[in-house]
Symmetry: C2
Subunit: 254 residues, 2 copies
């Protein structure tokens, strides 16, 4: 049963792309058929997996605006069980171009229908905003995973994000559930990391993953080699923490 998981948070730099790339790679290593969809115009998930954006003459943009079938946009990665649908620069204009379409919020959901069955997991990396690209992703998703950097400004934005998720549930996607809140860049030497972790667990309890992603320099190095952390440095704490996350998600599947 295919699961569509949207990685979203309008706060910038909280680890959305790092989570999308490395969770996808960890699921692929566990031999789950995984599709990573990069709907962020920055295209970081595309390059983080080694796919080049320039070559991406066709991208998710063509599916959203020109309704090209997703199966024609699939590209291989270095991992057998991981495929990607890349992003490219055209997406920058997509938010404004989608406005006049009557079905502007459900174009991704409709595009996913014909391909969903071929995968166990479809992971969507979102841009840092609550615009139409993120709305399309939340509407197409079965669940949303919220990366939360252990700092003050990211905490501030959490209630707004949860309100937006509620609105999407009421108006566009009643099935949408919260897969979980993932604490990222946790630095045990900083008070603020401990404060944020305590406060989030107090307020959100079991919605918070047991797995915590530590601040780990290998995670910020691996994108420059176009490789998920599991292929760049499998023994690092960064790689282990994302394998743990994949295990935690798979164990919830039941």
């Amino acid at each position: 049963m295919a699961q569509v998981v949207c990685i979203a948070n309008q706060k910038g730099g909280v680890g959305k792309t790092t989570t999308a790339v490395n969770l996808s790679a960890s699921l692929a290593v566990a031999e789950k058929k995984t599709l990573l969809i990069d709907i962020d115009p920055q295209g970081n998930a595309t390059s983080g997996c080694g796919a080049q954006r320039e070559e991406a003459s066709q991208s998710i943009y063509q599916a959203l605006i020109d309704q090209v079938p997703l199966k024609d946009l699939l590209r291989d990665t270095e991992l057998n069980f991981l495929k990607i649908i890349p992003s490219n620069i055209d997406l920058i204009g997509a938010e404004i171009e989608l406005v006049p379409f009557p079905d502007r919020e459900i174009r991704l959901k409709n595009a996913l229908k014909e391909i969903k069955r071929e995968f166990d997991f479809l992971i969507i990396d979102c841009p840092p905003s609550l615009g139409l690209l993120t709305v399309n992703s939340l509407t197409a998703a079965d669940s949303v995973l919220i990366p939360l950097q252990c700092e003050y400004y990211p905490m501030e934005g959490l209630s707004q994000l949860l309100k937006t998720i509620d609105l999407i549930k009421i108006r566009l996607n009643p099935e949408l559930k919260i897969q979980g809140i993932l604490l990222t860049m946790f630095d045990k030497r900083n008070n603020i990391s401990h404060q944020v972790s305590e406060e989030v667990r107090k307020h959100f309890g079991s919605l918070v993953f047991n797995t915590v992603i530590p601040r780990n320099v290998r995670l910020s190095e691996s994108p420059s080699f176009g490789k998920p952390i599991i292929l760049y440095d499998a023994g690092s704490r960064g790689a282990e923490s994302y394998l743990d996350l994949a295990k935690e998600i798979l164990s919830r599947e039941g």
Copy 2:
């Protein structure tokens, strides 16, 4: 002569808000009349200065959409020479609401006209996107300051940002110049910080500020007290580096 400086980078979490708040505060400490404008729906610069977003019944949204004069939106901060125009949640819808206006790209530029003369510096904090809010800011600005986190993904987005700035210069704001590229969260223990710094200085030479902002935990703590770093911990390396940045910008004024 009033200078409008736009703090922009579509990559999330690179230090736009931290730079906007702490550069504004440092200029105010140097007794320059400074206005901080928060055009990011997240409203981090508003809370980073101690202003509460809930109270912000009126915000920059009213100026952009309802054309309320900016002088009616000014609010005081703890620093005598620093005023702020806050953001609030209404801004989330602004990007779509602005689309039908014929003057949609120049509404901020027009709003600033009647207030610009009262200040030495007007600093605009932008959201992590290249949508209409950032386009309005680039069009209203005399110069753009680009914070660049010393990591791989932020480097990737730089060429796209520079292309967008060129487009704005051609179509909307021929006077726009690049104030500079500011290296942020520099960690001398990480190779990647040194690599990024070398590469950026090689490509962009004197466009890169001499001042480098170090990774400093006091900078990520001060927003939770609603204070710029100069009021939270004036002796910290974070506070010193933003005072250095203000001095460098003032010395360029000539």
